[in-house]
């Protein structure tokens, strides 16, 4: 069953069509990767889906509902949660506090309730802390949970970004290059992490340049080039697709690895 449908989605920046008439479906519970050369429009596509950018044309349906022009925090509340390509975390907070703050959508208390420290507010805070502990253990960050985030090594920072996405209780999690800057071993661990997320019932949309990782983990792959969708299929089909090979070969400086 399709949890999300993307219909003729386009985004123009001035004369540049960063995303150009892209349509595909996301099935519930799958890991769907979006690949393509630098500047192909992958991050822009994610920002459109999560409503961080307004679309120039087309629409995004999530569980049948049009979420295209809604505010990003509303879309997040419905369960479409993105992480950021740049390592984006609250640098000055501890690892645990980062994830506790990100539990916003779980609160049963109003701001006034938190201000007065009502019983539900204290319950919420306690629950957020417990859940944050669970998520951190699950993502292998248990050992560094009291560190100030800015002191973490790169691999941990990326995982923390994912942890914050998980805290928002997503139905679809959009991960923008979660393995960037990781070595082979870290990537392997992170792959396990993404599979674990899916096992928790979360549908995963993944943008990633690491082709071997993409091939290992994806159920299906969507390929973008210059904003256009040039292929869609399972890893086998994508590996042998002429258009895809050409798109990557067309760029000499590109590491293909297909």
């Amino acid at each position: 069953m399709a949890i999300m449908e993307i219909h003729n989605l386009s985004k123009r920046f001035g004369g540049l069509a960063a995303v150009n008439d892209v349509s595909f479906e996301v099935k519930e519970g799958e890991i769907l990767s979006v690949i393509g050369p630098n500047g192909a429009g992958k991050s822009t596509l994610f920002k459109l889906i999560s409503s961080f950018l307004p679309a120039s044309a087309g629409k995004v349906l999530f569980q049948g509902e049009d979420i295209t022009s809604q505010k990003p925090h509303i879309v997040a509340r419905k369960g479409v949660v993105r992480t950021f390509q740049e390592t984006t975390i609250f640098r000055e907070m501890t690892v645990t506090d980062n994830v506790v703050v990100a539990h916003h959508l779980h609160s049963h208390t109003s701001l006034l309730g938190f201000f007065f420290g009502t019983r539900t507010a204290r319950q919420d805070e306690k629950e957020f802390r417990e859940r944050a502990g669970d998520i951190l253990d699950f993502l292998g960050l248990g050992a560094v949970k009291n560190e100030v985030a800015k002191n973490l090594p790169h691999g941990h920072l990326r995982a923390l970004g994912v942890a914050m996405g998980m805290a928002a209780n997503p139905k679809i999690l959009l991960l923008d290059e979660p393995f960037a800057g990781m070595n082979a071993q870290e990537t392997d661990e992170a792959l396990g992490m993404v599979r674990g997320i899916r096992e928790r019932g979360v549908t995963v949309l993944l943008v990633e340049h690491d082709m071997s990782a993409v091939m290992k983990i994806s159920d299906r792959i969507v390929v973008l080039n210059f904003g256009k969708m040039i292929a869609e299929g399972d890893p086998e089909a994508i590996r042998s697709n002429e258009d895809v090979i050409e798109a990557y070969l067309g760029r000499e400086d590109e590491e293909i690895g297909i």
Binding site: T88, T94, D97, A121, V148
Partner: protein, 330 residues
């Protein structure tokens, strides 16, 4: 500092402020007036500080203090309402204007937000000058009566200021406003609301990615900020018993920033310390008055270079053990 030490420090500070200071100043009305003014200015600075805390620089606090001041003055002199009613009204009117202006304005970031707020103070002054039928224009509203009695079902809560030592009465009213506003601020910053504000300060996009209604939170912060300005402005006007379009100027708006800087942007009590040190310091050094803007400017530059986290970041022995200023609750 552990909890016990904190409470002890608070008790000592309150005893000094509420008992010793007024006792020492009992025959020095001028000095008591300076302390009263510093108290109320620190309420207004607290609002500016909160806006710093969500990552914006508000150079328009003078405008909202002026709005509060005029609201209070008009409520008392033209509408014949009591000072107490006028005080609350001043806070609310200033806050409502803050919300209406804030809704579009707070979308701007960085220098754009600051530039517009900077022009607000001047706009408020010109408006006050030209709305002659309501504000008396450049002549201002003079000879405001002192706050009258506040009673509740025949029980006098606060006596008529004209019948007691008005300097002492004004001082205690300002002290009450200061303590109430900083208690609220402290509670905000140390509750989850404070965590949300810190998340805005550090990255608004990240906050909205996990469902935080960023625009709403920004407006709430601005509403609190402008409420403080309104209350502070109305009190200041009641103390002076008069108001002019220039009662709060662009210069005042920038001084509020400096008070926050000096005390420390990462500390709830930063604006309080900053206001007291700078304002009282200058009143003590009367002769330097004409150089005040110059000295303030040099201080501002010096602070940014050598003490970017403010005076409270100095490792004084009794403050030892503080965490990094933005990291957590103080």
């Amino acid at each position: 500092m552990n909890r016990k030490q904190k409470i002890l420090l608070l008790i000592v500070a309150l005893a000094f402020y509420l008992v010793l200071l007024p006792y020492l100043c009992r025959d020095r009305n001028y000095l008591l007036g300076v302390i009263t003014t510093a108290s109320v200015l620190s309420v207004i600075s607290a609002g500016v500080w909160l806006i710093f805390y969500i990552g914006r620089i508000n150079i328009g606090q003078g405008a909202f203090a002026l709005i509060g001041g005029y609201t209070g003055a008009i409520a008392i002199s033209k509408l014949g309402l009591s000072f107490w009613f006028g005080l609350v009204m001043a806070g609310i009117v200033s806050m409502l204007v803050g919300i209406i202006i804030g809704l579009p304005l707070l979308r701007l970031k960085g220098v754009y937000f600051s530039m517009i707020t900077l022009s607000l103070t001047e706009t408020a002054r010109l408006t006050a000058q030209s709305l002659v039928p309501i504000t008396n224009g450049p002549n201002g509203i003079l000879n405001l009566p002192l706050p009258g009695e506040l009673s509740f079902f025949g029980i006098t809560l606060i006596p008529d200021f004209a019948k007691v030592n008005k300097h002492i009465a004004m001082f205690y009213l300002s002290a009450f406003l200061l303590i109430a506003s900083y208690a609220v601020l402290y509670r905000i910053i140390n509750s989850r609301v404070g965590w949300l504000f810190r998340s805005l300060q550090q990255n608004e996009d990240l906050a909205s990615s996990f469902g935080v209604d960023v625009p709403r939170l920004r407006v709430i912060a601005f509403a609190i900020c402008t409420f403080y300005a309104g209350i502070g402005g109305a009190f200041f006007v009641a103390m002076q018993q008069s108001i002019y379009p220039a009662t709060f100027s662009v210069q005042d708006s920038t001084y509020f920033l400096l008070y926050c800087f000096l005390g420390g942007l990462g500390y709830v009590f930063g604006p309080l310390i900053g206001t007291f040190v700078l304002y009282i310091g200058f009143e003590m050094l009367q002769g330097l008055n004409e150089y005040q803007p110059l000295i303030y400017a040099l201080l501002m530059i010096g602070m940014m270079l050598w003490l970017p986290n403010g005076m409270l970041s100095l490792r004084l022995p009794f403050l030892a053990g503080k965490k990094s200023p933005l990291g957590g609750a103080k």
